[in-house]
Amino acid sequence: MAKVKLEVPELQPYLDVPAVVPGTMAHSRPFVAKPEHQQPLNFPGELVDNWQEKAIDKMGDLLGRYRSLRVYLDSCVKCGSCTDKCHYYLGTKDPKNMPVGRQDLLRKVYRRYFTLAGKYFPKLVGAEDLTQEVLDDWYSYFHQCSQCRRCSVFCPYGIDTAEISMAAREIMDHIGMGQKYCNEIIGKVYKIGNNLGLPGPALRDTLEGLEEDVYDDTGVKVRYPIDVVGADILVVTPSADFFAEPHVDGLIGYGKVFHEAGVSWTLSTQASEAANFGMFIGSYENMRRISMRIREAAIALKVKRIVFGECGHAWRVAYSFLNTLAGPWDFLDPNYPVPQHICEFTHDLIQQGKLNLDKSQNDDMVLTYHDSCNVARATRMGPTPGGQFDIPRAVIKAVCNHFYDMDEDTIRERTYCCGGGGGLLTDDLMELRLKGAVPRMVALNNVMQEKGVTHLAAICAICKSQFTKVLPYYGMEMEQVVSVHQLVSNAIILTPGEDDDLDDDDDDESEDDED
């Protein structure tokens, strides 16, 4: 493929709704999965011969399995409320990236094959046969939806385009038109245990390294345990936390929080991944299979609680689906919700005054917070609706002196996707990712100009990866992206443990001549 130089949109002070320009993104399509990416997920390796028939059969199957799909395909009145809500439409001007435009790609086929009006009056109701052109459009545009649900907030019937995209991807997987990025990653989870394909020894090595780093930094022995049978808490976190900046600084923070809480915790090599890309491809069976690893790990490690690290869609699968997919959790401690978010855990400790925090440690930063789409619109934290907005902010404000929110229209339930969610965080979709980030970049740029914000905190591995990649294109620094628990980590004053002075594997006495 020819390397095309990416055009970077110029950030304006306001986000204008662009006029419709059909076809601007018709060329955008991710790499198609190869047979070796399809087979571990029980999907056909390549486009099957009778794919039309198979696709319609699968659509019928899904209509019987998902009320959402049937109701959403029937109910749209084309009112237009969603048309200016999708970050990909705002960034690309392509009308098939308007939520209703995207839904209609599936709806026209639904009408043709499953409704009376579409069978007898196809032209009148915009019904169309499933042709190669339609399939091409599906592949292209259902991989330009990050399933962020922003459109569903503004739809008078709550039509959620994410449900439509998931169904479309599920249909395409079943006829052999899978997406390489998602399906290859799911295969890695089955084979190795996590998205990044980090084997157990590498994880152990990384965690030992973290223990040494934290000890060198603070003189306190903070543990980062893995596969410890009998620990109280199983921590499930995205594998990026073991690997990349600023994710790993978040993981360091979790460990410090658990240290201060005085609880025993453990990671797991088997469940070394919070992400669940089964959701992105709309596959209940794969989502369930990925979730079952967490159940198996919890049983094997005999833990009492489960806590999830900072990951957006993972928290959706954890909060909203885990009880369904891998429950019931009656063998865990009933005094705690299953699962809990690390922000809920930290927030509780702050409320109880159990964390000794020095906010001034973060005085070199002026922060804002990006509500991750899945956390904002598909989950909750704490007992009251909206806790998913308030708890992370409360944590940030407890550890930082300088915090400003971005424009009201771009945060909380109206938050914009980072531009890389929903299985689109791949280099073969870089143009889409750049353009889809525009609404967030505009809001961030404004708060930087107006309030002097220097850093953007997030609680999602995809958001953090996407932002570190796209910020430089917009003239900002990748280091401006921080984990929420990185901020906690900076501010926390650790309680020295009894074994801090004991030499286990250290070869010097640096703890005696500190300062």
Binding site: Y66, R70, K85, C155, E285, F321
Partner: protein, 242 residues
């Protein structure tokens, strides 16, 4: 009995049957389709009464549409509220004696008719003037607006321009209800009005008018946000566990 009366009597029996059976069929289909996962758009209510309140706000106030677009909201709400008043006003053709609240609402029903047409005109203007809405508008969307505006204008026409013998109209519909068919006055405006209403009833279960029952079955709006507290599992998903 005139041929015309027989045709319209038959038409309304067919239309009523198609409407009731068609919509009931859809409601049964929706309620039998499982919702395997908890997908309320959050923040969402954590109790059943909270969900009832959320749906009530959607039905009465169009809360989400209000968040989405103020123009669509104002036109859409005026149209629907007008239609609601008009429907109440028309109950006098089916009730004998007419209930007092329906008596009292009669004059408001006329304003309702005007509001309905004004709202529809606004919605139609958006379909023509806003490029994004124009892009997603198909022939059936224009026809639906034409049908509804036609119903509104013919109705208003009978109120303000060409009066019809509404006592006979009432006898016709009361007669249909008790299967004793009474003659229908042969006024062109009335016949057109009734024809359009019958068409509306017939297309209802096969068109986007399904948004009316659909809203109540929308999982993003009607689910309680309690997935950690209560295990939610569909029958077909349960079978995967064996």
């Amino acid at each position: 009995m005139s041929f015309l009366t027989v045709v319209y009597a038959s038409l309304f029996y067919v239309a009523a049957l198609v409407f009731v059976v068609g919509v009931a069929n859809k409601i049964v289909q929706y309620s039998r389709s499982p919702a395997p996962l908890k997908i309320p758009t959050t923040p969402a209510p954590v109790t059943q009464s909270g969900v009832v309140f959320r749906l009530a706000r959607e039905v009465v106030l169009f809360e989400s549409l209000f968040k989405g677009n103020k123009w669509i909201w104002i036109f859409g709400w005026i149209f629907h509220f007008g239609l609601f008043l008009v429907t109440l006003r028309h109950l006098r053709y089916f009730l004998d004696p007419v209930w007092l609240p329906i008596e009292l609402i009669q004059p408001f029903g006329i304003y309702g008719g005007m509001a309905m047409v004004a709202g529809l005109a606004g919605l139609w203007a958006r379909r023509l003037l806003v490029d994004r809405v124009r892009y997603v508008t198909g022939p059936s969307d224009h026809l639906m607006l034409a049908l509804l505006i036609g119903i509104g204008l013919t109705g208003l026409g009978m109120t303000f321009l060409v009066h019809v013998d509404i006592v006979s109209v009432k006898q016709f519909f009361r007669g249909l209800m008790s299967f004793h068919i009474q003659p229908l006055p042969a006024d062109p405006l009335l016949l057109l009005h009734l024809l359009l209403v019958a068409i509306l009833m017939i297309v209802f279960p096969f068109s986007k008018l399904l948004h009316a029952p659909g809203l109540f079955f929308s999982p993003s709006r009607n689910q309680i946000d309690n997935p950690r507290e209560k295990r939610h599992i569909a029958p077909w998903a349960k079978r995967l566990e064996q």
